[in-house]
Symmetry: C2
């Protein structure tokens, strides 16, 4: 009887990098397909950073998940005829029996890739989920405008390398961070990034950025951690950060959502009372007045006496010596 091979993760990954011994290849008998089923022979299997990060939330043993593309070699499902190609999130395996139901992790129904005469491997790369992630993450979340500065980390990766090229197409100034001088060269010479830096040898990321641009308008973050923090400190007003991943934190053994050094989604907004019209300000004042009159809110004051006291009162306030509103009675 024909058998398939698949990888299971049998030991929890102990550090950022898994060990070869954390994986085990298991053989399974391929049962004859039933009505509605079809058998796919895998051609390409994807390896991606999310395989490391999602691992933290799973209990061993589990089948290693992942996208793959393969050819239907036997079918009792008219939607997936023999010899057609199928992309599915079926994991690391050389054969898979599917029935057209969505997978458990991404809820994606196996589908026929529309890649025409291009290499089939692209169906799980630039023309698959990494491509969609790059395209929509950049254009929908960051929404860069012509002339804006777009910064990308893991810039030579599957997603980052596309983000940079799309940003360039859109007329942006493109800056990439990557982890080796060789990849810096690829970014600049091969992919046309305006600037590329090896973050491992950069001593001051903020200085580096400020030496080439005034600030960052869009940051496509794949790394999290200190590098992301440094880049975020260089954001321009009204900047947009698309948080795609946080690979620098994937070795940490806390739950996935706790690991991001920056929050997953947060709106940071500077404001001044002057941005609201006077009627809105009056509404605020009226509510405050009612609260103060009722004693619901205490209006603390630190009042100094005399015109001459103004500078010292100002300095005392700046030193944190007053409580509530600092003012001077004239």
């Amino acid at each position: 009887m024909q058998k398939l091979r698949k990888y299971i993760v049998k030991n929890e990954f102990q550090a950022y990098l898994p060990q070869r011994s954390d994986f085990e290849i298991v053989r399974e008998v391929i049962l004859p397909i039933r009505n509605g089923e079809f058998l796919v022979k895998t051609e390409y299997v994807s390896v991606d950073p999310y395989m490391r990060s999602f691992a933290t939330d799973l209990s061993v043993p589990y089948d290693q998940f992942g996208f793959q593309v393969g050819k239907v070699i036997d079918s009792k499902n008219p939607d997936y005829p023999k010899d057609s190609y199928v992309v599915s999130h079926s994991g690391w395996r050389d054969y898979v029996v599917l029935d057209g139901q969505p997978d458990e992790i991404f809820n994606i129904v196996p589908y026929k890739p529309q890649i025409e005469s291009l290499p089939i491997s692209l169906a799980i790369g630039a023309l698959g989920m990494p491509g969609i992630t790059a395209y929509l993450g950049l254009l929908e979340i960051c929404a860069p405008r012509t002339g804006e500065v777009v910064c990308i980390t893991s810039a030579a990766g599957a997603v980052g390398s596309l983000v940079g090229q799309i940003a360039k197409l859109k007329g942006c100034v493109v800056i990439g961070f990557t982890g080796s001088d060789e990849k810096v060269d690829v970014l600049k010479r091969d992919l046309g990034f305006h600037y590329a830096f090896n973050y491992k040898t950069e001593t001051d990321v903020k200085e580096t950025l400020r030496s080439v641009v005034k600030g960052i308008d869009c940051y496509f973050d794949n790394v999290g951690g200190d590098l992301a923090s440094a880049i975020m400190e260089c954001m321009n007003e009204q900047g947009r950060v698309a948080v795609c991943g946080a690979i620098s934190t994937y070795g940490e053994r806390t739950s996935r959502h706790k690991k991001l050094k920056m929050p997953v989604s947060v709106k940071i907004e500077a404001f001044s009372f002057t941005q609201w019209e006077w009627p809105k300000q009056c509404e605020a004042l009226n509510n405050l007045k009612e609260w103060v009159k009722k004693g619901t809110i205490k209006a603390k004051e630190t009042i100094a006496n005399g015109f001459e006291e103004l500078p010292d009162t100002f300095v005392a306030m700046l030193k944190g010596e007053s409580i509530g509103k600092a003012l001077v009675k004239i």
Copy 2:
């Protein structure tokens, strides 16, 4: 002839704290008021952190600006009759002749405070611009919901002390950071903050926050710098940060907008390709395909060969050894 006194800033502030000698009191003759003018005798003058931060953008000498409230003692303007109170942004001075025109910094027309029988000093505090700032900054920018966690820095200040109390009124869990144990006591005992901490003696702000709450939903930032960064790292998903001030940076001698350690307004948004519907994903794939076909975009791949290579390829990708999409041909 009657004279008024006003402060001018004659030396640029050299550090965070101004020197007494940076200020000079100047006397000016009060000319008889003309039609449309009125003379105000100052009762209270405000001192606020923005007086330090705006200073960086001004050239000495300049009249010290600021809100004040006073009584009209002579008037040739029917909108501002004798004996009425007027709030204006007229600076540090004991008398001022006004004509009802808006000031240069905030563009605010002098106005009669609506404080009924409450102390007139509140007109430049809880029932003035600091009150409006606290109320609208919290309720419009942070928009906290009942049960959410609101964190405030400079929590015992004019604005912060109100923000915390309003947040408590709205049913939030309120955490304040301030600069002395005395003020911590005021926040907890007098103003009803659920938690208050002295940031000067906190060794690990993130640990402290995580010991009392799961995360922060709303952060009302008055300080910027390291304390703000640490708090922002504790934000919950969909958190909102209202950046009101950045007092920790006001000593730095760069232009005001460059000084904020965090950007003034930025949207940080995590995403996954799964958040978009399939038609939107297809649109992405179609555009990518056209670009790849035309060669506008290069789809870099690092392809290993053989089922057995999967774990090593995965690890190599995590180590940054691949360029573009990493995959394995089966």
